[in-house]
């Protein structure tokens, strides 16, 4: 899997653009883009394995709920992603298999992301843009 993400200028918060060859690859890049707002991905130790899933009635909801579930797992369990794999076990269900570490492993989180939002959201199989409230 490749795909790439770019952090776009946004006056008050942060916007991530992700590009890939298909929905899964683009979504993976988007997730990593969000994590890059908070941590230095390369500096996150590769120590833990966990899964994060989300359901949604449409693609926008599926993506936003997944991103927010990642934020919740960080807040609740301190789980920090280094890399992940995206799969779709069912049409309205997305599952990410994550690897990384916990905050107790000494990962520096340099910025808080409050939430992924629907603001000017753009979701296509090969291009996604999401604004994050910081």
């Amino acid at each position: 899997m490749t795909g790439k993400y770019t952090i776009l200028d946004h006056q008050a918060d942060a916007r991530v653009r992700a590009e890939g060859r298909d929905f899964a690859e683009t979504l993976r890049a988007l997730c990593l883009g969000m994590w890059s707002l908070m941590v230095d991905l390369q500096a996150v130790p590769d120590k833990e394995r966990w899964e994060v899933a989300a359901e949604g009635d449409d693609e926008e909801e599926l993506v936003v709920k997944l991103l927010n579930e990642h934020l919740y797992r960080l807040a609740g369990e301190g789980l920090v992603v280094r890399d992940l794999l995206v799969t779709f076990p069912e049409p309205r269900l997305v599952l990410t298999r994550c690897r990384g570490a916990t905050v107790e492993d000494g990962v520096e989180i340099f910025r808080e992301v409050k939430a992924a939002t629907y603001n000017d959201i753009l979701i296509t199989p090969t291009l996604m843009e999401v604004t994050f409230d910081l």
């Binding site: 008050a12 807040a75 301190g78 340099f110 910025r111 409050k114 939430a115 939002t117 910081l134």
Partner: protein, 483 residues
């Protein structure tokens, strides 16, 4: 927006976008801004959002934009909208993710001469005492039932636990507790995200500032607020932490469905809402009020920690140092308030997103100590320049549902701020201005550089020129703790 809407000048720093500017608008937009700033926001997303807000069902009088307006989610930041309780809606986008993000100001009997030589010691003591930064946990570990109690009692909960003085409570907007809080409307996830965060500063633009009163504009009102020239004051800016973020997210998910369910047509999905009296509207209001109370308890504990830190440095009690709370205001909240609309008194749900309540002298909601002077309106600026204490006016009551600006508002994106200077250059520059800064993270600090914000002087001048508030004092920072 391809073209800028028609904007009519109706007074000094007052503009109107008429109701017929766009199909679907139910009320006009009132824009309170300086001429130059208005030029800057023409054609921007912020102005488009102010127009979108005018589409909300049940909105009365106007969608209002403050002089510090900038792009938000659904609502602009610096936006005010009041909706009829029976026919109107409530929208999580009108409050934002950091529910009851707000500011409190504490005064003291200390003076500039006494504190300036010891500012590093004081700032370091506060930094060590107050947990700050992303995800930092506080010293309070609460059970579910204790949290439920906090969510209903707000600042009073903290007082009952020994964090504060009885007089603090009456010096908070709403007495530090919004009525109608409903813990059973709060999700398990919100409880989880808020666990351990009472008494923590957080990150981003949250801060504690040690400052001094540089200028007094209105001696009589300053005296009523207990403020005088060269006096040391303490600003605390924080909110409902992860608890509030999750309450907002949970309810945005719900309201993505209710807008369609109730046949509400809106130009922006981020304005998703529900009729105030619907089950979904009531559930959001109950959860939002609980989050607001979490924030008031949080700021109450933070003030206690500041008092402890300063007290240790001077070897004297906070009481002896005169560290009295001046006031505490919310700037992201929805509240039920009574206002006069077209000659009739009406109960309304007033959304203030990045706007401060600014009630005038004589308003019954004010505590006795401020009934004659009017409400202190706290307007923090950036960490290098200034902050202001204003006072509410009857014009604000009439024209903006008793609301004024809330701060400086961002001028540069975070990326732009990082390109402006390095963290080392920023710290040197602040030091040359006589400001000592402690921050949980250097990377986060650069994004909050003074250059990243509009000059609060301009925002305040426009607010005053528009008649929404009067200047009382201006304070300058000496020491800042950033999250």
């Amino acid at each position: 927006m391809a073209t800028s809407p028609p904007i009519q000048r109706v007074g000094r720093c007052r503009f109107v976008i008429p109701r017929d500017a766009q199909r679907g608008m139910r009320v006009p937009c009132y824009i309170f801004a300086g001429e130059d700033f208005l030029e800057d926001i023409k054609g921007t997303k912020a102005l488009e959002q102010a127009i979108n807000v005018a589409h909300l069902p049940g909105i009365v009088m106007a969608s209002i934009a403050m002089p510090d307006i900038h792009e938000g989610y659904g609502f602009p930041i610096g936006g005010v909208a009041a909706c009829d309780l029976d026919e109107g809606v409530i929208s999580p986008g009108g409050v934002g993710y950091d529910i009851n993000c707000g500011v409190r100001l504490c005064r003291s009997d200390l003076t500039l001469d006494e504190v300036k030589p010891r500012i590093k010691e004081i700032t370091d003591a506060i930094f060590q005492m107050v947990p700050s930064g992303v995800g930092k946990e506080g010293k309070l570990s609460l059970s579910r039932s204790e949290t439920d109690e906090l969510l209903v009692k707000g600042a009073r909960w903290a007082l009952e636990k020994g964090y504060g003085w009885p007089e603090d409570i009456e010096r908070c907007e709403e007495g530090g507790a919004l009525a109608g809080a409903n813990p059973s409307a709060v999700s398990r996830k919100a409880y989880e995200r808020g666990k351990g965060q009472v008494g923590t500063l957080g990150s981003g633009n949250h801060f504690i500032e040690v400052g001094y009163v540089e200028e007094v504009y209105d001696e009589k009102t300053a005296k009523a607020f207990g403020l005088f020239k060269n006096q040391i004051v303490f600003w605390v800016h924080s909110g409902s932490r992860g608890f509030g973020h999750q309450v907002c997210q949970d309810n945005l998910d719900v309201m993505r469905k209710t807008t369609e369910k109730y046949g509400i047509k809106l130009p922006d999905r981020q304005l998703d809402c529900a009729p105030f009296k619907s089950p979904e509207g009531q559930a959001y209001f109950g959860a939002m009020a609980a989050a607001a109370n979490y924030a008031w308890a949080n700021r109450q504990v933070l003030l206690h920690l500041v008092r402890e830190a300063v007290s240790r440095v001077f070897g004297s009690s906070a009481e002896a140092l005169g560290m009295k709370l001046v006031y505490d205001v919310a700037h992201n909240i929805a509240k039920i308030e009574e206002h006069e609309v077209e000659g009739q008194k009406k109960k309304l749900v007033v959304h203030r997103k990045g706007a401060t309540r600014a009630f005038p002298a004589g308003h019954p909601a004010l505590p006795a100590i401020y009934r004659e002077s009017g409400q202190p309106v706290l307007v923090p600026g950036d960490m290098g320049r200034a902050s202001y204490v204003l006072v509410g006016t009857s014009e604000a009551m009439r024209d903006s549902f008793g609301s004024a600006c809330h701060g400086a508002g961002r001028a540069l994106s975070r990326q732009q701020a990082k390109r402006t200077m390095s963290a080392e250059e920023l710290l040197n520059e602040l030091s040359s201005r006589g400001v000592y800064v402690r921050s949980a993270t250097v990377k986060g600090l650069i994004e909050e550089a003074p250059q990243a914000y509009k000059d609060v002087d301009d925002v305040v001048e426009a607010t005053v020129a528009a008649g929404l508030a009067r200047k009382v004092v201006k304070t300058r920072p000496l020491g800042v703790v950033k999250g």
